[in-house]
Structure formats: structure tokens, C-alpha cells
């Protein structure tokens, strides 16, 4: 039966090629390098050259050395805070977008996403010039008289990393939240009002719970992007803004210890996968929109 439907000749190969590309490309370019990292993480380095014999020394070093674990936890906390802040800022924006009608809604959405088209480094520089000791923020605070000398609270430290990451990653949080809000049928809000709920009650009892899948995937999205970032802490973090990403970067760069860098990357990947799973888990268990 399918014979008569399937196109004859070379066209028959097309589905095979498509599946081949669909499976081989991610395998070849994503899974294979990751597997390579996993393998390398069990090697070691001796006098600048890699020793290809399996050892757990890299992992033992990570868990026993007093330097790495605190930075690891601090980075996780930092990125969690970034994710939380991004969602808190993005939610009102996304909610406002859903209240708009027609063209203005998508115009504004596109405007929000324009920063994604800009070079990441340029954006970091832009934020850096705002946050610096003589930056716009400090000058504005001085001008309003809130402080009488430039504040160092957000200059080349972890706070600067936090603020920069938050500013840069907000667009990534807006989109999933907007989509989940947009997916809530209007009839549900009508039903809520019809049953006597005030607008605030409808918001907290219907809109927020139903947007939770999108909000949480936005959070895991931002968390994953933030934790993998080494450029931002490098450029605005200074001496104290040391993060896990910077350590990994240094292992591949200055320290030239690829196996240890690979082990740290594997640990980071595990955290990332966990974060994505957590975000997706809520989506599947709570996203019961008919």
C-alpha cells in the first residue's frame, strides 16, 4: 500500500538522508565532543604533556582542593540569583506584551529581541561603561546626591557580574514567559471573573500558576546560559568576581591542564543537564492546558 504512495527513484532516499542528517549532525558535533571531554577528564598531565592512562585524580582534586568547591557553589548561587532576577524583571514585561493587541505586540517583542542580534562582547563593554567607578550609574547616583563619592559596590566584583548577566539575559527570559502567558486561553480568565474573582485573584490563581511552566523553563534557560558564561566575569568581575567558567577557561588557556578542565566541564555539564531537567519536569507535570 505504501509502495503506491512513496515516490519512486532517488526521491526515496530523501527521508533516509533527512534522518541521517537529523541523527548524525547532533551526534557528530555535539555528543561526540562531549564524549571526548568525558574521556579526557580521566587522563592527567605530567610536565605539560597529557598522560593517557585512566585516573580519577581530576575529580578527587575538585572535591578535595579547598579552592574549587566554594567557587562552584558561589557560581551556582550567582547564576540562580541571575535567573531569579531575570524572571522577576521579564514577567511584567511579558505580561504587558500579552495585554497589547495586534501589531504593537509583535513590534515590541521584536524590539526586545534586538539586543540578541548584537555582539555579546559589545554588550558587555556597554554595561561595563555603565557600571564602572566613573560610569553612568555612579555619576547618576552622585548627581542625585544619594552618595557623595563613587560607590565601589558594583565595580569589578561579583555584583558587577550579577548585574551584567541579568541585564544581558533578560530577553531570553521574556520569550518563554510571553509564550506561556499567550497560551492561556482567554476563556479561563473570563471563567475566573465569572465565578466572582477580582482581577488580582485571577492573576494569582489562574495566570501565574498556568504560566509556571514557561517561567521555570525561562529560569533554567537563563541559569544554563549564565553558568556557562566565562566572558562576562572575565570582563566585569575583576579579581573577586571569580566564577567556575573562568576556572575552566584558565585550565584550557593559562594552566594548560586539559584533563582537569575537561573534568570541570563534565561537572558543569551535569549541573546544566540537571537544571534543564528540573525546568522540563515542571512543564510536563503541570502543563495540563487542554
Amino acid at each position: 500500500m505504501s509502495e503506491s504512495i512513496a515516490p519512486a527513484g532517488p526521491n526515496r532516499l530523501t527521508p533516509w538522508l533527512a534522518s541521517f542528517a537529523a541523527f548524525v549532525v547532533p551526534f557528530g558535533f555535539v555528543l561526540a565532543p562531549m564524549a571526548l571531554f568525558l574521556v579526557y577528564s580521566f587522563f592527567s598531565v605530567d610536565h605539560g604533556s597529557i598522560v593517557f592512562s585512566p585516573t580519577l585524580s581530576n575529580y578527587i582534586r575538585f572535591f578535595t582542593d579547598p579552592v574549587f568547591l566554594p567557587i562552584f557553589w558561589r557560581t551556582c548561587l550567582l547564576c540562580f540569583t541571575v535567573a531569579l532576577l531575570c524572571v522577576l524583571f521579564a514577567f511584567p514585561v511579558a505580561y504587558f506584551l500579552t495585554t497589547l493587541r495586534g501589531r504593537s505586540r509583535y513590534m515590541l517583542l521584536v524590539l526586545l529581541l534586538v539586543p540578541l542580534l548584537m555582539s555579546y562582547v559589545i554588550k558587555i563593554y556597554a554595561v561595563r561603561s555603565i557600571l564602572g567607578g566613573n560610569g553612568m550609574l555612579n555619576r547618576a547616583l552622585l548627581a542625585t546626591g544619594l552618595i557623595d563619592k563613587p560607590s565601589m559596590l558594583f565595580v569589578f566584583n561579583l555584583n558587577a557580574v550579577l548585574l551584567t548577566l541579568t541585564v544581558l539575559l533578560i530577553p531570553f527570559a521574556v520569550l518563554p514567559i510571553f509564550l506561556s502567558l499567550e497560551r492561556i486561553p482567554k476563556a479561563l480568565r473570563h471563567a475566573s471573573a465569572d465565578l466572582g474573582a477580582t482581577n488580582a485573584q485571577t492573576f494569582w490563581r489562574v495566570t501565574v500558576p498556568l504560566s509556571l511552566p514557561g517561567t521555570l523553563s525561562a529560569m533554567s534557560f537563563v541559569f544554563v546560559l549564565a553558568i556557562g558564561d566565562f566572558l562576562t566575569p572575565q570582563m566585569v568581575g575583576g579579581q573577586s568576581g571569580f566564577t567556575f567558567g573562568r576556572i575552566i577557561y584558565s585550565q584550557f588557556g593559562t594552566a594548560f591542564n586539559w584533563p582537569f578542565g575537561a573534568a570541570l566541564s563534565v561537572i558543569l555539564a551535569a549541573v546544566v543537564i540537571l537544571a534543564i531537567r528540573l525546568g522540563g519536569r515542571v512543564e510536563s507535570s503541570r502543563g495540563r492546558i487542554q
Partner: protein, 366 residues
């Protein structure tokens, strides 16, 4: 201002979207405790009426009066009405119990009382054991019952039902019709039911408001709209019917004659003063149901029309006979006869007399 027995009054209510008029000056009274059905084809404005009463949209003109007071400025959540939505609009993140108890929860009803009333409402709609489920785990009919329980629990003055049975299959729909009607009788709450299904309207309603193109065609009991249509639209809307155009004669007591191409027909006009008041000599249509038609040469009361049988279609309980009038072959006449086990003696091409009792023949303005 308040009239006894009238819950809600619509006075000259109109609704426009831009230049398009959806409703033209609607006047409608909803009586306390009745089951009123708004019936009309899609685009007739029936759902708009429901949305106006529910507060989901504002009228462009006219007044909606509850106990004599205009409720135009009353927000949705303050109106003592609850709605059963077309696609139920159950909250997907809440259990059946939480869905049903929603209206009480937002009013700050004590937990114990809420639990009791939720249990009672679920019992009423025969969903007792399903309280812990989520809407996605229910069948269409069950969701329908949850939506009904959710609307009933707040003890509204009026329950608005927006084509709630449209998504169900035929058998389940029949069952739910009976069920809805029995619930309505039990709780004695006013139901305003919107549907496009004539049978559904006839099966459930105390009164039917037939709508077409944003206007009310007729309001009356199912029996009235079926046997005494007020307009040509209504006469054509409920199943098959015979319509014969002609010129009105004078009124003679409770009857009035109409001169048609197939002869003079005498129709009843009792209870229809607006028909009796139509000017003589004006155009009108004689209307009579196929099931009111008798076939035979015996002496029958009322109108006799000679016709040639064109088709005899056996349809189970009844047999449909299509015939052409002898005086005017373009005029199709239909008769619905009770089927008999030994079949009908009628055959195609045969000339017979259609008899229509005067009481079964009615007039509508053309």
C-alpha cells in the same frame, strides 16, 4: 419598577462591531425560574446576547435590567450569574474539587463549608468519586458536569449556558439534555441556554427565543414556535414544512382565508392577533406541518388539495410523501404519514387528495 416574576429585562439592546450591527434593538424578558433557550443559526447574535448578560462585552445601546436596575456598569465578577462555557473553560491546573470550589474560594468561604458544598455539587452532577482528578483526566461529558457544578455552586440567580453540548456526540448529548433539564427542575434556577440545535431547544426549553440576523423572530413555548410560527424564518427553521404563498382574505372569527395558486385555504388565526391584523389583499404564506396532512378521499375536515404523488420515502416510524399540486405543479407538498407494517398503498404518479385541518393550517407574513 420590578415586575413580579421577571428576573432580567433586555430593552432595545444593540451591539455593533465597528460598522457591523450584530444585534438590532433586542427586547427580551427572562422569567424567574424558567429554562429559556436562545436558538438561532451561527451569526444570529445568540451568543452575543449571552456575553452581554454575562458582562464579557458591553452593549452599544439599550439597557439590561436586573430587578429593574441597569447592570451595564456592573463588572463580571459582581454579577449574580454564572456561565457554563462552550469549551467548559475548566482550570487545567486545578483538581475537579478545586475547580468546583473556585467560586467559593475567591469569596473567602470557610473551608469546611466549601468542602461540604463542593461535595454536594459533585453529588448533584453525579461526579462524587472524581473530585481528586484533573480536567485532562476526564471525558467530555464529565468535564461538562464539572463546568455545571462549578456554575451551580455559587447559587447564581441565572445560569448562562453557551452551547455546552455542542462538543458531545449525539447519544451523550441526548443524555445530557435530559440531565440538564432535571438539574434545572431540581435546583429551580433560571437557565439561559444558547444553541443552534432545534431539537435540543424543543427538548429542553420552557420558552424558545428564535433569532436570525441579530433580530428576535419569535419568542414562545416549543409548541408555539413549532406549530404557530410567527415568521417565515421560524416556519422554515424547525424541520420540514409546507409553505404556500398567496393573498390574504378577510378574517372570519378564528379563521382567515388565503387565496393561493392551489386554491383557497382556510387557516386558523386564534392566539395570533398580529396575523389577524394583517391587511386583507396583502401577501402571506399558508403554513402546515407534513404530519398534519392526511391523504385519502374520505370526507375530511378543512382544506382539500388535489396532488400527484412524486415520491414515497420510507423513513422508519414515518413515511414521507412528496407530491406536486395539480393546479400548480411547482408547488411541492409534503405529508408525513405513520408507517404501517403492511406498507403504504400509495404509489408514484397517483392522484390523491391532501387534507389539511383548518386548525393545523397557519399564516405567516410573506
Amino acid at each position: 419598577m420590578t415586575e413580579a416574576g421577571i428576573l432580567l429585562k433586555l430593552r432595545s439592546v444593540s451591539k455593533n462591531y465597528g460598522a457591523t450591527a450584530i444585534l438590532h434593538e433586542i427586547d427580551l424578558d427572562v422569567h424567574d425560574g424558567e429554562f429559556i433557550t436562545i436558538l438561532g443559526p451561527s451569526g444570529s447574535g445568540k451568543t452575543t446576547i449571552l456575553r452581554l448578560i454575562g458582562g464579557f462585552t458591553q452593549p452599544s445601546g439599550g439597557q439590561i435590567l436586573l430587578d429593574g436596575g441597569d447592570i451595564a456598569a456592573m463588572p463580571i465578577n459582581r454579577r449574580p450569574f454564572n456561565t457554563v462555557f462552550q469549551d467548559y473553560a475548566l482550570f487545567p491546573h486545578l483538581t475537579v474539587e478545586a475547580n468546583v470550589g473556585y467560586g467559593l474560594a475567591v469569596r473567602g468561604t470557610p473551608r469546611a463549608e466549601t468542602a461540604k458544598r463542593v461535595a454536594d455539587a459533585l453529588e448533584l452532577v453525579q461526579l462524587g468519586p472524581l473530585g481528586k482528578r484533573f480536567p485532562a483526566q476526564l471525558s467530555g461529558g464529565q468535564r461538562q458536569r464539572v463546568a455545571l457544578a462549578r456554575a451551580i455552586i455559587c447559587r447564581p440567580r441565572l445560569i448562562l449556558l453557551d452551547e455546552p453540548l455542542a462538543a458531545l456526540d449525539v447519544e451523550l448529548r441526548r443524555h445530557m439534555q435530559t440531565f440538564l433539564k432535571s438539574i434545572q427542575t431540581e435546583i429551580r434556577t433560571t437557565f439561559l441556554f444558547v444553541t443552534h440545535d432545534q431539537e435540543e431547544a424543543i427538548a429542553m426549553a420552557d420558552r424558545i427565543c428564535v433569532m436570525s440576523a441579530g433580530r428576535i423572530e419569535q419568542i414562545g413555548s416549543p409548541h408555539e414556535v413549532y406549530y404557530r410560527p410567527g415568521t417565515e424564518f421560524v416556519a422554515k427553521f424547525f424541520g420540514e414544512n409546507n409553505l404556500v404563498p398567496g393573498t390574504l382574505g378577510p378574517v372570519d372569527g378564528a379563521t382567515r382565508a388565503i387565496d393561493t395558486a392551489i386554491g383557497r385555504l382556510v387557516c386558523a388565526v386564534d392566539g395570533q392577533p398580529q396575523i389577524a391584523a394583517l391587511p386583507a389583499g396583502g401577501p402571506a404564506l399558508a403554513v402546515f406541518r407534513p404530519e398534519a396532512v392526511g391523504i385519502g378521499n374520505g370526507a375530511g375536515e378543512g382544506n382539500r388539495i388535489a396532488a400527484r404523488i412524486e415520491q414515497v420515502a420510507f423513513g422508519g416510524a414515518s413515511t414521507m410523501v412528496n407530491a406536486a399540486a395539480l393546479d400548480q405543479p411547482q408547488q411541492v407538498l409534503k405529508a408525513r404519514l405513520q408507517s404501517r407494517p403492511d406498507g403504504t398503498a400509495l404509489s408514484q404518479g397517483e392522484t390523491v387528495a391532501f387534507t389539511v385541518p383548518t386548525s393545523a393550517c397557519r399564516l405567516v407574513p410573506a
